[in-house]
Symmetry: D2
Subunit: 154 residues, 4 copies
């Protein structure tokens, strides 16, 4: 009862002049950076998995298998971007996340996205059964996210 309610992870970032193109809006190519940056922050904050340390110290990696982005409205430096990351599926080696970017002040939907990555050994790039404690944290996130995701796709 005293336990705090789970909240989906949201990564906030500024949108800067250099993110824009001649059309006065954020260049399409930046959105994959925004998505990856949000997933990286989520992995560190919620899963305790820091991509840099994972590679350099634990000799593992998490290469991406696929990504997809649906653009809903244009983004400008007039407000920041909030990217929510939910775990959609946890497999033996793979993790699938669902992302949702909204205006930091307006709440307007900017994009939705999905991405799948796989835990591998850095030495021979062989898929790895997702190691603990990362697995436990990812499965807990997936369980919490399930209701939210099913309500949104309904």
């Amino acid at each position: 009862m005293s336990k705090e309610a789970w909240q989906p992870y949201v990564h906030r970032r500024s949108i800067v002049w250099g993110d824009t193109d001649t059309a006065h809006i954020v260049y399409t190519g930046r959105f994959l950076d925004f998505l990856l940056e949000a997933i990286e922050a989520f992995m560190r904050a919620r899963v305790g998995c820091d991509w840099y340390r994972l590679n350099v110290e634990e000799k593992m990696g998490t290469p991406f298998v696929n990504v997809g982005l649906d653009f809903k409205s244009s983004v400008t430096p007039r407000e920041g971007l909030d990217t929510r990351i939910l775990v959609a599926q946890v497999g033996k080696s793979s993790v699938r996340v669902a992302a949702r970017g909204t205006g930091a002040e307006s709440g307007t939907l900017r994009f939705t996205g999905t991405a799948t990555f796989v835990f591998i050994t850095a030495t021979d790039c062989a898929p790895l059964f997702i190691p603990q404690p990362y697995r436990a944290a990812l499965e807990a996130e997936a369980a919490e996210a399930a209701a939210l995701l099913s309500s949104e796709s309904a």
Copy 2:
């Protein structure tokens, strides 16, 4: 008979040190730049549509509706990247392309991708019936590409 056979458009680029990350391979976020750059080059070379002039002089734009990337093998600066662009579908306002990235020397498949963009007016962002001569060129590319795409998805 004397007409030269159509060949699919292929955009070649170098892979540089700055494209790589700590895992010694190209950072995932770079692939959307590679895809967009190849589509931009295709549009200029085959469709006669230069994104910069289209925006600044013709007051039109071609924002993206969605993009998707499937990563097949890792990329390094050891060889360049060839990205083939085929027109998969031409609608009233929208264009769907299918991309395929391979090693410039090895021919090894690196990624496949799709992307959809829409012609709009730059002033009020209203969708636009794709203007000539862009429409004719896109439809001709789509007709040529159809056989190739169906053979590859078979």
Copy 3:
């Protein structure tokens, strides 16, 4: 007496996986982005000048005349980066800033830099006498920064 003491402006940012290269440190090319981003944030926070609104609404621009960077130690995602921005000189149209990047936790010096930009009209790119209230804010910053800068170059 009750007035709060002036503090130099410091822009904090995370360092992410995508900022690194094969040498396991931040790619040199990223540092100009870091510098520009810090100057942009300084201009908004301290001078009330938002580059995007300045261009789109006020029809002015602030193109850069020169930039210089001296790299002092390598940067990794192990800690964030704090970039301090001081106004070194305010001319008729031009502003010169001095930057200093340090580790967000360690305080270790990462780089020093300088940059000069000029206020112009966006329509004909003619240099502009720096308009109020930007001029007043920049001159106040320069006055406060003078002592700090002279002590550091001594």
Copy 4:
């Protein structure tokens, strides 16, 4: 007599939509990428030193000590960019280059720049006497470049 005359190395690149910002010109932050990319191409073509192989296979690196850029005129996707790289000085461990960017068709001066990098061991980051055959190639380039550089600074 039959020997072909030395020509300065020039790296040509396209300027793309994604390089631009809201001001309809190339974003300042891109110029350091352009400079580094040109130096990397020069090192591979003229010095036989490939940064990626140098790091991964020879366990050496060439981190930058400083860079400087003077912007002369704005760049757009209307034409490509030619960046000429000359070796200005070769020290025990360090190399200083001078760059000059011009419009690929117009020849208009876009920027000048300088950069200094140092050969180090990748394992302990200790400065390294520039190894052969890189040293010989760099010194030959410096000898050829000397006359050109002194004529331009006169």
